[in-house]
Amino acid sequence: MNIVLRLAWRNLWRHSRRTWLTIGAMVFSNTLLVFMISLQFGMYGLMINNTLQVFSGHMQIQAPGYKDDQKMRQVVHDVQPLAARLRSELGSDTIAARGWAFGLASSAERSYGIGIYGVEPAHEPQVSNIPGLIEQGRYLEGNDAAEIVIGATLARNLRIGVGDELTLLGSGPDGSFAAAVVDVVGIFDSGVKEIDRNIAEMPLGTFQDVFYMDGAGHQVVLLAPELDQAALLQSRVEGLLAGDDGLVVEGWDALQPGLKQAIQADISSAFFMYGILVILVAFSVLNTQLMSVLERTHEFGIVMALGLKPGRLGRLVMLETAMMGLIGMFLGALAGALFTTWFTVNGFSYPGMEEMVANFNLPGRVYPRVTLLTMFAGPLVVFVFTLAAAAYPALRLQRLHPVAAMRTN
């Protein structure tokens, strides 16, 4: 080993208790950082996927303004042919057309106002997870069948089951009165209260008949293979629609502004907490290195008198800090990864979490994922701040006068 390295290493262990305590501060903070970052980004991913896979998709083609107002008359004309054209031109089957209407659903005993989706039974399962969540009965089959699937809570509130009839009352885009009687063929249970209580789906063809849509719908939903390919897909779709200026493509963050903002709000408060942890570690390192420099003043005086330049002493101090920081970083990343892995296997939850994360379509128990990024992002920042904290003691050395230094003990 290089003599300077060896010197730095030995200096580090002159006060092994102090060094270990400083490393302990790093390991503690790093463990927390790894765990929290893994959990956080794992949750964001789940939040986005779970929310988008219910209805939003990665993007939707809509009439301008529909996103904010959801009015019946803000339609996409010939919505099914459009969806079919996109499916063939993009070579993708994760594209489906939909209509949406508000209506009063009445059973023999009860009436509730609900949101009704008109969907393509053949394509909806590729863009939404609702078809897969049918708990009783079956999902929709024919495009023109007079049938409907409803949420579990809604079924309970309406006091109906599979096979019962449901009367729908509503109005078409022109305000004309719409009414129909359909058969309940299936009941889904998504676990999301709002959806299970308020939503029903019927075949798009029937929907268009009942609500006088004249072949129109309200949205074409598209799902990219992965979230990070959504932007690329969106620009391709925009290219294909270039001639059709009656339509816009809205990305997931525009469709679900709350989701992105909730993540932003969560990130800012989390970063505040991370920042405080990092600063506290930096203070710990500053304290240790300041002590380590002050108690060696005499010794530094001697080597300076022998001709060593203060710059080299400063580098020695930085080298010692870097060694300590590296140990802290790797032990911390390792401890954090092990700690987090335990939760990866067993899941993580706390009292009240289920209620809170249900707002974001999350289950009450989450399983954080450790990646190289979540494992080292936090510890690397801690390492950088560790070095920065040692700068003050290292720079103090520049002002050291050999004779004065040797006089102290």
Binding site: A265, L277, L290
Partner: protein, 409 residues
């Protein structure tokens, strides 16, 4: 007591002997304390606001319903008592604020659009003091009495329905026989609320008008009671429970809105965890500082022992030194927190992430709440844990053999 004074003076002097180290450690404690209190004040402010907003929508601290109502909020699940009986039970029982209301799901239809809402039939005077609607700030006017024939809806809902004050809308619900009960209403006022969802979800009509329209005589869906403090609803709960029999269910607000109830409990848990995490991050530096402080005066400790000081006094001296360090750091941190939170009490505008905050159930203004109980808890936790963390270095210091300590260089 005398000895305490002697040891305190020694401890205080020793604290400033190595002033750089003490200042670094004080900074760390101050920053940590500041972060504890600042973060807690923000979170406490957010949760308080959420609960205040949430309770105002519920509203009230205690409610009574038909036992089946919370699960199935239908017009069929009404309270068994008539309005006259309710007045007999509660009118003279010493409740400062209470109101009975009709509350059913309904559909509102304009010429253009339909939406589902919660229809509230109220006596405006009875709930003026605790309603989430500020009657004076309504565009147009609020309801004038239980027989008012108009409807007041949220501004956002009016936008969606493309209606405004003076125009007519149709409200549709069901009567106890599941016949459609509908009636045309003139919009007399538009209310504003912190959250868009609130503006979209409620329509107010006169209580008697509602009873008439729904053909339910003089029965209601719920009775709400407001007490002095939402944190302690037991007195009101007990008083209400004493006035009713088994035919109705008495619930606290935490049971009506379990999400809010959970959030309140979670807040206190979060607070404690955050304080402990910061303390642990600080504790490494604290122990390190004490170890160093002991190390550099082993000889002096030996001397004191040789002069006849008992080991317990050395132990006391180090612990007092640690407590002083913490107390000064806490004081600075408390003042810093106070100084940074006070200017923000007018509210922090976080409307950039308003949609996201709405998903949590929080509004877009954040009013930090510097709760004295939180401050005391943070300080006490730090002092108690700090005391425990100091025990080990202090114990070691008191275990030195005087001869060995004195001869140690």
């Amino acid at each position: 007591m005398h000895m305490f004074f002697v040891l305190s003076r020694l401890a205080w002097r020793y604290l400033w002997r190595n002033h750089r180290r003490t200042i670094v450690m004080l900074s760390a404690i101050a920053v940590g304390t500041w972060a504890m209190i600042f973060m807690t004040a923000l979170t406490r402010g957010m949760v308080d606001q959420m609960i205040a907003d949430g309770i105002s929508v519920i509203p009230g601290h205690v409610q009574i319903h038909n036992p089946d109502y919370l699960d199935d909020p239908s017009v069929n699940n009404r309270i068994a008592y008539t309005d006259t009986e309710l007045t007999a039970r509660f009118g003279n029982a010493g409740f400062s604020s209470w109101a009975s209301r009709v509350r059913v799901p309904a559909v509102v239809t304009s010429e253009r659009e339909s939406r589902g809402v919660t229809l509230l039939g109220i006596d405006p005077e009875a709930e003026r003091s605790f309603s989430f609607v500020d009657y004076a700030a309504v565009d147009g006017r609020f309801l004038e009495g239980p027989d008012d024939k108009g409807v007041v809806i949220g501004a956002k809902l009016a936008d969606t329905l493309e209606t405004r004050v003076g125009k007519r809308i149709v409200i549709m619900s069901q009567d106890p026989d599941n016949e459609i009960a509908d009636r045309g209403f003139r919009v007399v006022g538009l209310f504003h609320a912190e959250m868009e969802a609130t503006e979209e979800s409620y329509a107010f009509i006169g209580k008697h008008t509602a009873q008439d329209m729904l053909r339910i005589g003089d029965t209601v869906s719920e009775v709400v009671f407001v007490g002095d403090d939402y944190r302690d609803v037991e007195p009101v709960f007990d008083k209400v429970a004493a006035q009713v029999d088994d035919s109705v269910l008495v619930s606290r607000w935490t049971e009506v809105d379990t999400y809010l109830g959970t959030m309140m409990g979670m807040m206190d848990g979060f607070m404690l965890i955050w304080v402990i995490v910061i303390f642990l991050a600080l504790s490494f530096g604290l122990v390190n500082t004490l170890v160093m402080a002991v190390f550099e005066r082993i000889r002096e400790i030996g001397l004191m022992l040789a002069l006849g000081m008992k080991p317990a006094m050395i132990l006391g001296q180090i612990i007092i030194e640690s407590m002083m360090l913490l107390a000064v750091g806490l004081l600075i941190g408390d003042l810093l927190a106070w100084a940074t939170i006070k200017p923000l009490e007018g509210g922090i505008d976080i409307s950039v992430v308003a949609k996201g905050m709405e998903m949590f159930g929080a509004s877009s203004m954040l009013y930090p709440n510097l709760d004295i109980g939180d401050v005391i808890l943070a300080n006490v936790v730090v002092l108690v844990l700090g005391f425990l963390a100091s025990l080990s270095p202090a114990w070691r210091a008191s275990r030195y053999e005087p001869v060995e300590a004195i001869t140690k260089v």
